[in-house]
């Protein structure tokens, strides 16, 4: 009966277990990232100075930078940098990866949020319609649309979007804001805090195309997941029970079907984060959006593997943490999750 205390106890235990299980996963991830970076060819010194210095000078500099230090030493440094949440200092321009995350994370966050909003605004109604009218034309059309949407990579949709709108309306032009004081490192928020609504509008306009390009990547998944969820929840026992109480069909579909179908969307959202991060790299590159992904590409081009290692580590950790959070949220809101 009144087992709430017992329940919260087991929830706590569940969360702790889940975290404990994530630890070896994270360790393996770290090793993986580290190993990949050591196998990767190139180093920032050869990359930036390779055309200018002779072989001996290059070797001396590599040594001075510690790129020939023993692997265990390098791994230890790497681990330390992760534990201190510093994630290393880039070689090519001596920024701490943490600073990169703080300075550029805002832009990635804004872009990802924009993409999610777009995907939700389009995906949720379409998915609900498709699920409600299963196998009718609207369903078939939406399935086709969603399949096309995820058959279209960002680097196809983005140029096409630019072709269609960018050059005429200027939305594809890069965002430049000079007079927004930095407070949160999220430009749009800073602009809002500053009361500079012209800047906010400008930022939002520039956000539009990248958000659509990135959002299109996941909107198909949204539509499908919502559709399937709705179909399943419409077959739910409580739906029949509600009908048996004479609740109007419209209400049954809206209150029991839609609402219950949308809860798993949280999970979908979470699972899409990995995909969004990958897509953000390309989107940021194409639209010159000052996010972490663009930094990553720059550092890859400079063969700055300390930076790449740090950023990739952060990306991987974000994915792990988000999947953890989703599990927790699910455990909290959905009593059917066993723990």
């Amino acid at each position: 009966m009144s087992n709430t205390s017992k329940q919260s106890g087991s929830l706590r235990r569940y969360i702790l277990t889940r975290i404990a299980l994530a630890v070896p996963m994270v360790l393996i991830l770290l090793i993986l990232v580290f190993v990949m970076m050591r196998v990767a060819p190139g180093d920032p010194i050869s990359s930036s100075q390779g055309g200018k210095l002779n072989a001996t000078e290059l070797a001396a500099r590599r040594h001075a930078a510690g790129f020939d230090a023993p692997l265990y030493q390098q791994f230890w440094d790497y681990l330390k940098s992760v534990v201190t949440l510093n994630f290393g200092t880039t070689f090519s321009d001596r920024r701490s990866v943490r600073d990169i995350i703080i300075e550029n994370g805002g832009a990635t966050l804004t872009l990802t949020a924009g993409a999610l909003v777009f995907a939700a605004v389009i995906g949720i109604p379409v998915g609900l319609l498709a699920g409600r009218y299963r196998d009718r034309p609207v369903d078939v059309l939406s399935r086709l649309a969603s399949t096309i949407s995820y058959a279209s990579p960002v680097f196809v949709t983005a140029p096409l979007l630019m072709l269609a709108f960018g050059t005429t309306s200027g939305q594809a032009s890069p965002l430049i804001q000079l007079n927004v004081p930095t407070q949160t490192h999220i430009l749009i928020v800073d602009a809002a805090l500053d009361g500079d609504w012209d800047a906010v509008t400008d930022i939002l306009q520039h956000l539009l195309l990248p958000s659509i390009a990135l959002g299109l990547l996941i909107v198909g998944v949204f539509i499908r997941m919502i559709r399937i969820n709705l179909i399943q929840s419409l077959q739910g026992d409580y739906i029949e029970a509600a009908r048996a109480r004479g609740v109007r069909e419209r209400h049954v579909v809206a209150r029991h079907g839609f609402r219950n179908a949308l809860v798993p969307v949280i999970t979908v959202l979470g699972l899409q984060v990995a995909m969004l991060l990958g897509g953000a790299v390309l989107t940021e590159k194409i639209f010159n959006w000052p996010g972490i992904g663009r930094q990553l590409i720059d550092y890859i081009n400079q063969r700055d593997y300390v930076a790449v290692q740090g950023i990739v580590t952060v990306f991987a950790l974000v994915v792990v943490v988000i999947s953890l959070l989703i599990d927790f949220v699910n455990a909290l809101i959905d009593p059917r999750v066993r723990y």
Binding site: D135, P153, P159, L163, I228, A274, G278, F315
Partner: protein
């Protein structure tokens, strides 16, 4: 970039077949697939066949590229004159020419060839590695299994484009910017998917009675794996393979777009062409973007539709019963007889006994 994580999700329960079914023959799984495909109907059938047609067109284009394309992917002159640079589409060059004075139509067609090569290699590599690792891991279990699971989960948790980028970055130093490098980079991304599905099947099959019986009769592990597990595993593989093929096209192009894929002097590659075309887009030259982009979307779409169709057809949880409207025949009312007295039925006494 299509998602492949999605379709594998709902498939997994299906991938652990009920112990003892369809495993008696090595080809039981295959037969099940063909039967299911033949019985497909409605939307899945439409998707399946549209996908199959597009895929077939794609493969034909790729295989016969030299016959179909007006020029080779690196032809820049014909009849003694160079092609125009960034020429707009006209009678000589239906799809225009690129910044390198190459024929966009030919490059688009040859791009299919490159995509197919990389895709086939990547799928074969990851199939072999993933299935092998999955079987070994699931069948033998133990510490090997535990470590492999962790590694694969970690790989799986990785944003997959990032993984491909890093892998492309790693392999490009080892084997240059060719087809094999690109295939290897993509392989890394897909191994975990095959591994997961196959391991799950192997785990459940390991406990199945028929496998235990085989082992009891002294069958060697290799025989058990080959004869009994393959039969079960093989039915979940087509869907993943098709979806991965779709994905591989996107990932290859992603790598090419970032300059980590196949170099233009080696072969025609859509992603590279698109990257070069970004400059053109801003200059209002649409043809260098549109055609390779469209070709890629269509190719991915073909494989995705095929994969989704297969998924719908093969996956019983997705399958919907065809519910034809029932027409009730005329009702024949049951005759009624009124009895005047209780009959002495033979069972009556027994009924008494129960009471």
């Amino acid at each position: 970039m299509a998602t492949t994580t999605l379709p594998t999700g709902p498939i997994e329960p299906d991938a652990t077949p009920a112990a003892g079914t369809a495993a008696s023959s090595r080809f039981g799984g295959l037969r099940r697939i063909t039967t299911a495909v033949r019985e497909a109907h409605g939307v899945p059938k439409f998707m399946l066949w549209t996908g199959a047609v597009i895929t077939a067109l794609f493969v034909i284009t790729a295989v016969f590229a030299p016959l179909i394309a007006p020029y080779s992917f690196d032809t820049y002159r014909a009849g003694g004159t160079n092609f125009p640079k960034q020429g707009s589409p006209d009678g000589d060059h239906w799809f225009g020419t690129t910044v390198q004075s190459l024929d966009v139509l030919s490059r688009t067609i040859y791009g299919a060839r490159t995509a197919l090569e990389v895709m086939v290699l990547a799928v074969i590599f990851s199939l072999i590695l993933g299935v092998l690792l999955g079987l070994v891991s699931g069948y033998f279990g133990g510490w090997l299994d535990r470590i492999l699971v962790l590694v694969m989960d970690a790989l799986f948790a990785f944003p997959y484009l990032l993984l491909a980028i890093v892998a492309g970055f790693v392999f490009s130093g080892v084997s240059g910017g060719g087809v094999v490098t690109a295939a290897l980079s993509i392989t890394v991304v897909y191994i975990p998917q095959y591994y997961r599905v196959v391991r799950a099947s192997a785990l459940s099959a390991r406990e199945a009675t028929f496998v235990e019986a085989a082992r009891a009769m002294g069958a060697k592990p290799s025989v058990v794996i080959r004869k009994y597990l393959f039969g079960n595993v093989i039915q979940s593989v087509p869907v993943i393979t098709t979806m991965n093929a779709a994905d591989a096209i996107g990932t290859l192009a992603g790598l090419g777009f970032l300059g980590l894929g196949i170099q233009p002097t080696e072969a025609a590659e859509w992603g590279y062409d698109l990257e070069r075309a970004i400059d053109d887009v801003n200059a209002g030259m649409w043809w260098t973007t549109l055609y390779p982009g469209l070709a890629m979307v269509i190719a991915i779409l073909g494989f995705t539709l095929l994969g989704e169709g297969l998924n719908d057809v093969l996956n019983p949880t997705m399958r919907r019963r065809r519910l034809g409207k029932v027409l009730l025949p005329d009702h024949t009312r049951r005759r009624t007889v009124t009895a005047s007295a209780l009959p002495e039925a033979p069972g009556a006494t027994e009924g008494e006994a129960v009471k």
